[in-house]
Amino acid sequence: MIPEETKRRFDELTKRYPEKRSALIPILHEVQAKVGHLSPQAIEWVAGYLGLSAADVMSVASFYDMFNLEPVGKHMIYVCQNLSCSLLGAGRLIQHLESRLGIRMGETTPDGLITLKRMECLASCGTAPAIQIDGIYYERMTPQGLDELLDKLRDGRLRQSKT
């Protein structure tokens, strides 16, 4: 499930920490990026690698918002719904996304391309409202801006962040 060279990278990463367990969250990020989401098999792999029980790893993974334990679309669109962004139109962004994509926040488009997720403060309040697509921030968003991004996304012209 995890290629040897990735595992070797994990071996190096683990060496940084006085206690091996510290590498858990960084490893979960990478495994999620490789596998698509943290499936039960992915979690068991990580558990086996670090010598932890599968329930323990799942307990940690399920605590954090960025870890998806269910399958998600190829692209994750996070929309900040916190105060400053709401004051500056996050609600309209959410409405626009939901109507244009035909899904509710938290859902994935039927073609598996996009998952919408509500997030809390992304530390972009001065440039609100903000969204994050595949790790990249897009700030001072407007419905028109969203349309342009979605078009680019569909065409595969949107820049991707590595993790």
Binding site: R16, P18, E19, R21, S22, A23, L24, I25, P26, L28, H29, L50, S59, V60, F63, Y64, D65, M66, F67, Y78, Q81, N82, L83, S84, S86, L87, L88, G91, M119, E120, C121, L122, A123, S124, C125, G126, T127, A128, Q132, G135, I136, Y137, S161, K162, T163
Partner: protein, 428 residues
């Protein structure tokens, strides 16, 4: 009255991109050399104490005092952890600091590590800061290559390595012991205190956890002296502060100012006032955990003491400005939703209370509130404060109490009219 920028002086350098060469060309890493050559660790701690530097993450705890708690004679390794989990709503200064001037932070970490005897430091960077983490990794590699990190730094005999450690999306990991739990590969659930991190922190060893901005101040204190630093701003809230101003202002952004600045000047002079010609209705001065203030508080100075005396707090310096189109009940709903989502779930009052507050506020907002709900909210808040492992419970309760204190009639209107008076015409 332009304030001499210290942490953000790079903003005035044309085409500045924060590379190590630029940083050095503008005096960067001089402070590190001075610290290693001219100071013994206890002297550095003294200097930081004299500077009056207080934590910039939210608690405002005196930095030198925190460093002083590290037992120098402990056989255990010491750790320094930089808290870059910036998640307090309304706050976006740490993100700017790491993306635009990473070496200032790195220099601060190296000096601070030297001061407390730490040889392995971590920057806990919230998971969403993908770009920031990358910038930091590159900067650390550059610093290592130039000898500002690693073995025998600048020939001083002092060894240090720093690693970036990414989080994965949980506000509670900004709480220092929640952060340590997360760094150890666990759920970010805060620990019971005592023991405090200085005694039993990362891997149960003596640890200092400092905010990004706090650490960025350290090189300047070393370079220009604690007395100079202490002369900036009010005597008990010294040094420059980055205020993140957002919401209904003309010019949202980070403003580096002394804490003697008034709320009025911050909003109306620096951030150019309320946009669209509207009136100020409410302002949260220190991140969403801070109780709300109103027009009557505009002449308060933005130091920790004054804000606390007025019933709020300096907190993270996140200033959220709301005009008169804002429904405060809706604000309550948004803020309570946040704490409901972010509670780690350990303590009964917080786990159940944050949900109860949110559900009640949401119901009032929807026009299904009852008269008894307002006093119920206040009692729930009272039952949530001061009784849990960490203060997220208090952070959830106190803002709600303040919205009821200053805007009770708005809540009553929702209950009476069974509708939101701003429906269809407010900012939301």
């Amino acid at each position: 009255m332009a304030f001499e920028k210290i942490l953000t002086r790079y903003e005035d350098i044309p085409n500045y991109t924060g590379t190590i060469d630029e940083y050095i060309a503008h005096g960067g890493y001089h402070a590190l050399g001075k610290a290693l050559r001219q100071f013994q660790p206890p002297d550095l701690i003294e200097a930081v104490k004299r500077s009056g530097l207080r934590g910039r993450g939210g608690a405002g705890f005196p930095c030198g005092l925190k460093w002083g708690f590290i037992p120098s004679d402990s056989p255990k390794p010491k750790y320094l952890v930089c808290n870059c989990d910036e998640s307090e709503p309304g706050t976006f200064k740490d993100r700017m600091l790491i993306e635009e001037e990473p070496h200032q932070l790195i220099e601060g970490i190296v000096i601070s590590s030297y001061a407390i005897g730490c040889h392995l430091a971590f920057i806990y960077c919230r998971g969403e800061f993908v770009h920031g983490a990358r910038v930091l990794e590159r900067a650390l590699a550059d610093a290592r290559a130039r000898g500002y990190l690693g073995k025998d730094i600048l020939g001083s005999g002092f060894d240090l390595d720093i690693y970036v450690h990414r989080g994965a999306g949980a506000y509670i990991c900004g709480e220092e012991t929640g952060l340590l739990e997360s760094l150890e590969g666990r759920r970010g659930q805060p620990r019971m205190k005592p023991p405090f991190p200085a005694v039993s922190g990362l891997y149960r060893a003596p640890t200092v956890v400092n905010n990004v901005e706090t650490l960025c101040n350290i090189p300047h204190i070393v370079l220009r002296g604690p007395e100079w630093y202490a002369s900036i701003g009010p005597s008990r809230s010294t040094g420059p502060r980055l205020f993140s101003v957002s919401g209904h202002v003309e010019r949202p952004g980070n403003y580096e100012l002394p804490m003697s600045v008034t709320l009025r000047d911050l909003i109306f002079e620096h951030a150019r006032g309320i946009r669209n010609g509207r009136r100020l209705k409410a302002v949260i001065p220190g991140g969403s955990s801070a109780p709300v203030l109103t027009e009557q508080h505009l002449d308060l100075t933005m130091d920790f003491e004054s804000l606390a005396a007025a019933g709020s707090m300096g907190g993270s310096g996140g200033v959220i400005v709301m005009d008169d189109t804002v429904c405060m009940v809706r604000v309550g709903g948004i803020v309570s939703r946040f704490y409901h989502h972010e509670s780690c779930g350990q303590c009964t009052q917080c786990r159940e209370g944050t949900a109860w507050l949110h559900k009640t506020l949401h119901r009032i907002e929807r026009g299904q509130g009852r008269k008894e709900d307002l006093d119920l909210l206040l009692d729930i808040c009272d039952n949530m404060k001061g009784k849990t492992i960490c203060v997220l419970s208090d952070a959830a309760a106190m803002p709600i109490e303040s919205y009821l204190k200053y805007f009770r009639e708005e809540f009553e209107a929702h209950i009476r009219e069974r509708a939101c008076p701003f429906e269809g015409k407010g900012t939301f």
